[in-house]
Amino acid sequence: MTDRIDIISPVNLAQLDHILEKLRKPATYVAGATDIMVQKSRWEQAGTLIDLRTVQELVSTLEIGPEGILIGAALSFTDIIRYRIIQEKFPILVESCRQIGSVQIQNRATLGGNIANASPAGDTLPVLAVLNAELWIGPRLKDNFTKMSVDEIMTGPGKNCLQPNQYIAYIYLPFPEPTDPFWYFRKVGQRYSMAISKLSLAVLGWKHNNHIREIRICAGSVSPRIKRAVLTEKLLSNQELNSKVIEKAATQLMKEIKPITDIRSTHNYRKSTAGRLLQESLSTWARAGK
């Protein structure tokens, strides 16, 4: 129970890092506030809120090098969707951002928030996993950010491994190989908008001579943490896609995931639907190759 809440609005990273160094009481980060507003107890008890949307680098910086891009963690989904380079190189990310909540939510919500909130149903998480995203964690130690992957930061539903003074500064996405990548993202919600995923599947892959050279598969809402389906990936690599292989892969994926039954869906449905989603994606890919 607090009578007042302090809000700190640092203007740049240097100031943010300085404030964090000085901070004595626990603070809570706020970006788009779309999660935190509904988790009332979290901010009511916080006492101090740090607004990341005022940190210039986190909202406006988008550094593009030859290898990949750095997305400011507090950039809204709407901003992300509008970036030409993201549209070109990461259509799978754009697709997942577009399916978040509603346009109103997308106008506020951020990638950093989606990751830090660590919900197994976070819609961008499986996509970031197949894109091999690297999270750059502040504050900088000797000018260097700490680096982490999506499956490392998440320790369980709603839990991440960040220290109280640590934050996500950037999401680094390496450009996927440009030669004919196949991508697939599908979200299954209880309705078409304003829905928390009961299941999602992200697939990214490349073929060589009609054989799968590399494939990355990640399902959302099927385990406490976001994990790639490595066994299914392994089963598929170097395979030629035919209905037998596709069915085997689906069976493998269904074995590999451990969904639960909760208010939104059932173990069985999540499992069988994940299998069907994989079949849908792979058969689309098989047909596209012909």
């Binding site: 129970m1 069985n268 499992k271 299998g275 849908e280 058969s283």
Partner: protein
């Protein structure tokens, strides 16, 4: 009869309450800033059934800053409704999880929360019953000696003979779930004590229900005034519940000696307020091979929850609607409202009708699929028409449109053709699904379905209800010649203010701006009956027409006396060969005069509520709907893509608003069929609000093709009959009929979720996906 095309309207009639609502100028109950007001909080039972052993207040806490109310503080601890079985606060036993036991009031929320931590209630948990079948045979008594709130038997013809003379017996058991109203504005009431007076303001539908309940609670020792605050949605959820909540607010206010606000947040609201009655049906039809139904035996069980509330009347409507739109000469209906240790069920748009129509329409589907006849053909063969009698022997003399609405949707939707086309389209997809070879599906391909339903809704109160209520209104002529309506009919978003003013204005031939409405305050307005049962436009509206006639007569006399000439009245003017006076100018002469009107059914309408025979309703409204759906073969998501419906509502007072009601109500019915699921875990609802109670949004809105059919009710205002509830009633069966069509399977339970549909093929492929 004329068919009305909404888009042909030259100028849409704007709603009188629209502008301030859109601009955010309306002050809802929570927005009121009342000096010195404290807040109230309810401490509830964590058990579905338990003895209360004791209530302890922690001595270490400073109770001087908090007011505590328990059952002992209540003069008459019964919420006056049909059975007075529900206490305001539980005293010895709690009968549902969430039942109120202790009330607290304090200056602010933090203090209240703190105080609540210092109240200890000791319970002895008892076995609880959550199942209507277990309840009927249990030794644990929740209500009376058999746990039945009400039992109704309706009988007509000879069912035994029908069975012998029929070709076939067809049976189905159906089940419908809870439904939550999810009005945008949660429940909220403010009580203000001043001496012996207590003024209640709140978000509510029926001010006189609340007044009666609070009068009774204080044993007549307080003077009670009830004022309706602007109400942000209700759907029946603010019919019975506000009586309980207002009681809590009034008790705390009186004890604290200051204004008191009780405001539920969303989670508390969805956890403890009433829901639609879940239902179980066991239906048998005796049919001929051509699909003609010779006899039916219909058994209905409604889960009433822990207290009676309005269950007997909901049950009555269920029983009286059970035959749907069909003519069946031999009928036996048995209906029971059963007590369980669950949150009391209550009023919800449709009021027992949606359950009944779902069950009978599924019986029709089963007949069609058993006999291998098209579902529309079985319906058509049995539809009721003018001159035939219902299950209670009511002779339908006028305004019967079962066939017209049915033919209209068939034609406009292209049902028959699409039925065949979609079946062909689905054949391959179903084959692949049965084999489990999803990879053979074409990308993005969907299963397509088309379903149909016919429905009806009795307009106004059930049976003798209207003659018991005897709704009154008063209309007064103001000094400036405008007229002011005093009625207890409430606006809750449905357009009541617009309808009432429009009816009066049209009856007088004047502009709507010359008709104003009184605030809804029980000190000022007479009891025109509750705003429920699709009755307001029809019943209150008919009183307005009568009042208008007398107003014209009165003004004419006053004008004639003054001018010493005689006048005729037409189109808003009193005139004769030499003079012409506009209504409002002339009416100034009669300023201060008022007329009161009281409703009684036209004498031809007779009902016997002991034998359950006669005119159950003065008139029925009729609807038919065709739902077109798409089912994703990968996720089994169901989307209603197009919804064609025809509604006969007698006369559309405000056509634009009528279409809006039909769209909104149908969407709410689609939600009932496909999305809105509440599970009960040891008497606890597993929902907390908008995140986990899934209702359709704008994205789920199908393309609507609405047409209004105006088959007038001779005793309604301009022929109008009820509309408010009907659109919801037929939506679920139309959607589920489309599922029968696609899967050629029996569907007998709503909601139907993708999880259920996916299982159909898990069964068929023999693939077991569980560990």
């Amino acid at each position: 009869m004329s068919e009305f095309k909404p888009h042909q309207l030259a100028a849409l009639e704007r709603r009188v309450d629209a502008a301030p609502k859109v601009r955010g100028q309306v002050r809802y109950i929570r927005d009121l800033k009342i000096p010195g007001m404290w807040l109230g909080k309810t401490i509830r039972s964590p058990y579905a059934h338990a003895h209360i052993l004791g209530i302890q207040l922690d001595r270490k806490f400073d109770w001087k800053q908090v007011v505590v109310v328990t059952a002992k503080d209540i003069p008459v601890n019964q919420v006056a409704m049909l059975e007075n079985d529900m206490p305001f606060l539980a005293e010895k036993t709690v009968k549902y999880r969430g039942e109120a036991v202790v009330l607290l009031a304090a200056e602010n929320q933090d203090l209240l929360n703190e105080a609540a931590r210092h109240v200890r209630i000791d319970y002895k948990p008892l076995p609880a019953i959550f199942d209507v079948f277990a309840s009927q045979v249990s030794f644990t008594k929740i209500f009376g000696d058999n746990n039945l709130f009400k039992e109704i038997a309706i009988s007509r013809g000879n069912v035994e003979k029908a069975r012998q003379n029929s070709d076939l017996t067809i049976e189905i058991e159906t089940k419908t779930g809870f439904q939550e109203h999810l009005y945008l504005e949660p429940q909220g009431v403010i009580a203000i004590p001043e001496g012996d007076q207590v003024t209640i303001q709140g978000s509510l539908q029926c001010p006189y229900y609340v007044k009666r309940a609070i009068d009774n609670m204080f044993a007549g020792e307080k003077r009670i005034t009830v004022i309706q605050a602007p109400t942000g949605g209700a759907f029946g959820g603010k019919e019975d519940y506000p009586s309980l909540l207002a009681g809590h607010a009034a008790l705390l206010a009186v004890k604290a000696g200051r204004p008191l606000g009780m405001f539920y947040d969303r989670e508390e609201d969805v956890q403890v307020t009433t829901k639609r009655h879940p239902s179980y049906h066991q239906d048998i039809a005796y049919v001929n091979k051509d699909g003609r139904i010779i006899g039916v035996e219909l058994t209905i069980f409604l889960d009433g929850g822990a207290y009676c509330t309005l269950s007997p009347v909901v049950l009555a409507r269920s029983a009286l609607t059970a035959l749907g739109c069909y003519h069946v000469p031999n009928v036996r209906i048995l209906a029971k409202a059963v007590a369980t240790h669950t949150v009391p069920s209550g009023a919800f748009r449709g009021f027992g009708g949606p359950q009944a129509i779902f069950a009978i329409e599924m019986l029709i589907e089963k007949i069609a699929y058993t006999l291998n006849l098209p579902p529309d053909q079985v319906r058509k063969r049995n539809l009721i028409r003018k001159g035939q009698r219902t299950a209670t022997g009511q002779l339908l003399k006028y305004s019967v449109s079962a066939r017209d609405t049915f033919q209209d949707v068939l034609r406009r939707s292209g049902y028959k053709k699409k039925f065949r086309t979609y079946q062909n389209h689905n054949a391959d997809i179903l084959k692949y699904l049965r084999k489990g070879s999803v990879s053979s599906l074409k990308a993005g391909e969907k299963l397509k379905g088309i379903g149909i339903s016919v429905s009806q809704h009795g307009a106004g109160f059930t049976g003798t209800g209207e003659n018991k209520i005897n709704g009154k209104i008063r209309v007064e002529i103001l000094p400036d010649g405008r007229v002011k309506i005093f009625s207890a009919a409430t606006e809750m978003g449905q357009g009541e203010e617009t309808a009432i003013r429009t009816i009066m204005a049209k009856a007088l031939g004047i502009g709507r701006e010359a008709v104003i409405l009184s605030d809804i305050n029980t000190d000022v307005v007479p009891d025109s009956g509750p705003t429920v049962a699709s009755r307001t436009t029809m019943i209150v509206g008919s009183l307005l027409i009568e009042a208008a006639k007398e107003i014209v007569k009165k003004v004419k006399i006053d004008l004639s006396t003054k001018r010493k000439l005689s006048f005729t009245y037409r189109n808003g003017f009193f005139h004769n060969s030499s003079e012409k006076h506009a209504f409002q100018d002339a009416a100034k002469l009669s300023a201060g005069w008022s007329v009161e009107k009281q409703y009684r059914h036209p004498p031809i309408i007779q009902f016997d509520d002991i034998l359950w025979t006669g005119d159950a309703y003065p008139v029925f409204s009729w609807a038919a709907a065709v739902a077109e759906i798409e089912v994703d073969p990968i996720t089994f998501d169901v989307r209603v893509s197009r919804y064609t419906t025809s509604h006969d509502i007698g006369k559309a007072i405000n056509p634009d608003q009528a279409v809006a009601q039909i769209q909104g109500g149908s969407l709410q019915g689609i939600g009932y069929a496909l999305y809105e699921k509440i599970r009960l875990e040891e008497g606890h609802f597993d929902i907390t609000g908008f995140t986990d109670y899934i209702i359709p949004t704008a994205t789920e809105m199908p393309e609507f093709e609405v047409s209004l059919i105006e088959n007038p009710y001779p005793y309604g205002p301009f022929g109008a009959k009820g509309l408010g509830e009907l659109p919801l009633v037929g939506a679920a069966p139309a959607v589920v009929s489309a599922l029968w069509m696609i899967f050629q399977e029996e569907f007998n339970e709503i909601p139907v979720l993708p999880e259920f549909l996916a299982k159909i093929f898990e069964r068929k492929t023999g693939k077991n996906v569980s560990d």
